[in-house]
Amino acid sequence: MHDHDDHDHDHHDNHFSGIQARVKALETVLTQKGLIDPAAIDVIVETYETKIGPRNGARVVAKAWSEPEFADWLRRDATAAIASLGYTGRQGEHMRAVFNTADTHNLVVCTLCSCYPWSVLGLPPVWYKAPPYRARAVIDPRGVLEEFGVRLSDAKKIRVWDSTAELRYIVIPERPAGTGGLDQEALADLVTRDSMIGTGLAIPAGEAR
């Protein structure tokens, strides 16, 4: 994985060490001034590495698949419905759930920055924040989807949601066929992060890891 460190910097061979030094200098100055608590940074990192991630959103989706009343609540007031599962807070203050159907596929992007529903999906992946996805999701969503290995039928409509305000979106993918007997934890195993952004689909029954 280490060779990925320079992923965005192919044409700047020593760029990486530059930013590393820059961050270190900033943390040092702020710590010397008593403006930051380095232990608080450790807690923030630990929270997003171990506590807040796409498993939260997967449970939201599994519940929506299983309980029609919860799905209706998500449609009407996603913020409250998601908060009822304990998923609240930073970058999830105002939530909307958008449902894939047999004739429409939803895709979420933030062309202006990197708005993303942290409370249900955790921190965004690099590609979500990088120029190619932000540039192309709104103009060539089918081409983008193909790069994720998703080929939709030509008849399927694509609805792209550009997250330009403080609303954060979660896509509710279609429930895979043949999953009638699964409980919510088993259903949640079929829900990938990408399926909740719209760059993927739920995993077919029998293919879950």
Binding site: V23, V29, K33, L35, R90, K129, A155, K157, D162, E166
Partner: protein, 219 residues
């Protein structure tokens, strides 16, 4: 502003290149960058809108060649200097040279869970009733402010349909520049792909944005 951040529809950016089993962080410095950004945000000295403006104000060549956490760090350096917490000399030296301004609060480890759980809701009571309703046909305004805006360039001077009234929210175009929260109604506005991209557009495509009321005029 028409900065490098306004990427929707730009060509030549290359493939998306998703990474299999991507880790949350690709380097230790990214962890510190995230934590520094959130910790300094807790000072209460600037808003999320001002921080977005600090990032989008980077020179386009810098913005487009930086990783996202580097963009955050460069934006944070701007904000800390602007608000008197650190000096350019200190950033260059990598050590404290003078005391500087005191923040409203300093984020300690004990405070982190509460602060993250609370977030920063930005819905506010609106002074007036909404001007538009679901089903209304609207046109986005054509403007090109040098200041912060959340109306992307590709969606300016386009006709669409109001799909929903989402509530009233802090107006970022003012709030980013210290002009107050001035809440306005926000609407989900849906555009046909052809209205935005014209000839050759995907006929099955619709794109929606969340638009503040002052971005819209009735058709």
């Amino acid at each position: 502003m028409n900065g490098a951040q306004d990427l929707g529809g730009q060509h030549g950016m290359g493939p998306v290149a998703p990474e299999k089993d991507e880790p949350y962080f690709h380097a230790e410095w990214e962890k510190r960058a995230l934590g520094l950004t959130l910790s300094c945000g807790a000072f209460g000295a600037w808003t999320i809108d001002e921080s977005r403006h600090a990032r989008e104000s980077l020179a386009p060549a810098t913005y487009l060649s930086a990783s996202y956490y580097e963009i955050w760090m460069r934006g944070l350096e701007t904000l800390l200097q602007r608000h008197g917490f650190v000096s350019p000399a200190e950033l260059a030296a990598g050590q404290m040279l003078e005391k500087g301004r005191d923040p409203k609060r300093i984020l300690t480890a004990e405070m982190v869970p509460g602060v993250l759980a609370k977030g920063g809701p930005c819905d506010r009571p609106a002074p007036d009733a909404p001007r538009f309703a679901a089903g209304d046909r609207v046109r986005t305004k054509n403007f090109n402010p040098e200041t912060h805006t959340r109306l992307p360039r590709y969606a300016r001077a386009k006709q669409g349909i109001v799909e929903a009234v989402q509530g009233a929210f802090v107006f970022p175009d003012d709030n980013a520049h210290g002009k107050g929260e001035n809440p306005q109604w926000v609407y989900t506005v849906v555009f046909d792909g052809g209205e935005i991209w014209g000839e050759g557009a995907d006929p099955t495509l619709t794109v929606s944005i969340d638009a503040w009321e002052s971005y819209l005029e009735r058709v």
